[in-house]
């Protein structure tokens, strides 16, 4: 589990804003603004952040559905950013995506057999129709659907079943890395648990690596081995799941975690409520992009953008206050640091290497 299946370096995607009759570029939306992360084989990397922080763009970039403005995406040691033709086609077999919207992600005019079988016929994985159908049946069984569903159309299924079809489609090519773009956020909570557990089972069975994009922290905690928190197109903190949830270093992560409801009404906790709204990615603040909303900001945060700093043990955070940078600065400018989250006893320390988080879905 030490090699890197996928590594992203300095990934950027800027969308131009055009204006005027001539369509001149008048600005840029910096949807993804310099990302670095990696995924090990068979591992789940949770990618969390609020709406509009660029999570979905990252998913599209990894799949080469969008071309990055800058940066490298290295899959198995090969930069895939400029792959074309046959090489790109080959990559498609190993990298797949599961979409958020189970209603929009299936072509309403094709049957299940055609939707899943299309993957196989594009890549010539089945010798003939019979073999293709048999393979589709296998896939349906793997995701908990039945053989007679083959000839049904998407509108005949429920949301959860449709998502299973989407999962079967992603698995058809036997990929090694599956990017899941909010795969359960469009589903009922009871169905979410089923789909999440299905994803975990499939991961174990087919040794899949996931990039699990979500805004739902409890699901991310349950699914992921490591978590990266995004804010306005940048990763502000990344760490193994237990570390991130028990000892969040970045004030944004702390605020996010404090918003997660706890199932125990006896536990009292101080909520960190962020002031202000998410700034527009077309007009980013100077210095640290989080400073206008930060509750512990320093004068320096207005001027200087912090870089990811290693806090040890694979825990990275981009904040001037954490780590070695802390000593250089004076007292926080705005209120005192909230200790509530940090004060919680870490109950997963000493667990096995790369443990998943805990959650309410199983057990």
């Amino acid at each position: 589990m030490t090699g890197k299946l996928l590594e992203v370096r300095g990934l950027k995607k800027y969308f131009p804003i055009t204006g005027g009759i001539l369509g001149r570029t008048v600005g840029q939306v910096r949807a993804v603004d310099g990302l670095d992360f990696f995924v090990r084989p068979g591992e789940t990397l949770g990618l969390v952040g609020e709406s509009g922080c660029g999570k979905t763009t990252v998913a599209r970039l990894l799949l080469r559905l969008l071309t990055p403005t800058a940066g490298e995406v290295i899959y198995k040691g090969q930069n895939i950013v400029h792959l074309r033709g046959r090489a790109l086609q080959h990559l498609r077999r190993e990298l797949q995506i599961i979409f958020q919207d189970p209603y929009g992600s299936l072509n309403p005019r094709l049957t299940v057999a055609e939707i899943i079988g299309e993957q196989l016929s594009i890549h010539g994985l089945a010798r003939d129709r019979q073999e293709r159908l048999a393979m589709v049946r296998e896939l349906l069984a793997a995701v908990g659907l039945e053989g007679h569903h083959l000839w049904r159309y998407p509108h005949e299924f429920s949301g959860g079943q449709r998502q299973r079809i989407g999962i079967a489609r992603a698995l058809a090519l036997n990929p090694q890395l599956v990017v899941t773009d909010e795969p359960v956020s469009a589903l009922d909570v009871s169905i979410q648990a089923q789909i999440v557990n299905l994803l975990l089972d499939l991961q174990e069975r087919y040794k899949l690596a996931y990039v699990f994009v979500s805004h739902d922290l409890s699901i991310v905690r349950y699914m992921s081995h490591r978590v990266a928190v995004m804010y306005l197109g940048k990763i502000v903190e990344s760490a193994p799941v237990a570390v991130l949830f028990e000892r969040p270093a970045h004030p944004y992560t702390q605020a996010l975690l404090s918003a997660v409801p706890l199932p125990d009404p006896a536990v009292r906790r101080q909520r960190i409520v962020l002031e202000g709204d998410l700034p527009s990615p077309a007009n980013l603040p100077r210095g640290c992009r989080f400073h206008p909303r930060c509750f512990i900001r320093l004068p320096r945060c207005r001027e200087e953008e912090p870089h990811l700093h290693d806090c040890g043990g694979g825990h990275l955070a981009a904040c001037h206050i954490v780590g070695g940078q802390k000593s250089e600065v004076g007292a926080p400018e705005n209120g005192s640091r909230t200790e509530s989250l940090q004060g919680r006893a870490p109950d997963v320390e000493g667990a096995d290497i790369n443990p998943r988080g805990t959650g309410v879905f199983r057990g």
Binding site: S105, R109, L133, G147
Partner: protein
């Protein structure tokens, strides 16, 4: 591929193939179930047969003049009466189907091919190509359809074939707009992205995923336009650019009978009815076709 036994609850391969065939026949089944669409199809088939068998069905020659018997009302000798030259109107309508129907269908076919393709390119690729195509379409739309057709047919010279081409070209912008809007709506959907993510080529994405899902408005536009095309061709015939005088084209019959509207309304009524019936039949059939092509609108039939 994963190795895993095929579950035993699956139907056998033969049964699966049978079910697939049944599904294909569902399309015809659905179309047949829709009574109105069936009526439309029947009327269209009727006119087609009439056009094909015209020389055997028509009681008189469509061009033989009989001046003493001009402007006779419908009666036993002439079932639908005669026009100002004493020509039998029924025979002229029967032969007219040979001109009016092809004019409608071929001009729409031209518009559909040209406009559909341009609209699809504009919608799919967007950006500069879209701008270029749609601005040219805007220029064409700025002129009234009939005026544009007149300009084109004047350049090509009068005649029924040129009228088809002219009407077809003048309808291109309408089809381009409809096709572009439809493609634009579908292009951004996730299943198109999913197809791309699985390595589907541009042609596969367009013809398997985008086109079938943007077809409904184009079909409706097509069936409505056949009617409009027949009328446009009639108008061109009226001003002397289309069917030349003895040719029994419905539109030109309509316009030449206009002078006698007060005294002999049957001269215009019957060709008008023929046009009306064709147009109505086309619209009903078009609606049925659209519904039968869309699995979401299919009624439960097992």
């Amino acid at each position: 591929m994963k190795t895993q036994p095929v579950p035993d609850y699956c139907p056998s391969a033969a049964a699966a193939v049978a079910e697939h065939r049944k599904r294909v026949s569902d399309f015809w089944w659905q179309l047949r179930r829709n009574r109105l669409a069936l009526c439309g199809a029947a009327v269209l088939a009727f006119f087609t047969v009439v056009a094909l068998l015209a020389p055997w069905l028509a009681p008189y020659s469509p061009t033989a003049q009989n001046l003493p018997a001009s402007l006779q009302p419908p009666g036993p000798a002439h079932l639908l009466g005669t026009d100002e030259f004493g020509r039998d109107i029924l025979s002229r309508i029967i032969f007219g189907a040979r001109f009016s129907l092809p004019v409608g269908f071929f001009s729409v076919a031209i518009a559909l091919a040209g406009g559909g393709l341009l609209g699809m390119l504009a919608g799919y690729y967007g950006g500069r190509l879209d701008n270029l195509i749609m601005r040219v379409m805007d220029v064409m739309l700025a002129l009234p359809t009939i005026l544009l057709a007149i300009v084109i047919v004047t350049a090509l010279g009068p005649g029924l074939t040129n009228v088809m081409v002219a009407v077809g070209i003048s309808l291109i912008p309408n089809f381009a707009r409809v096709a572009k809007a439809a493609v634009l709506g579908v292009r951004e959907l996730e299943y198109v992205e999913a197809a791309r993510a699985s390595g589907a080529g541009t042609l596969r994405v367009i013809f398997r995923h985008i086109l079938p899902n943007s077809l409904a408005p184009i079909i409706v536009q097509g069936t409505l336009s056949v009617a409009g095309a027949i009328l446009s061709a009639a108008a061109l015939s009226f001003i002397g650019l289309g069917a030349q005088p003895p040719t029994p084209e419905w539109g030109s019959m309509l316009s030449s009978g206009r002078a006698f509207l007060r005294d002999a309304p049957h001269v215009t009524t019957f060709p008008g009815l023929a046009i009306l019936l064709t147009v109505l039949a086309l619209n009903l059939f078009g609606d049925g076709l659209r519904d039968a092509l869309d699995p979401r609108l299919r009624q439960f039939n097992r």
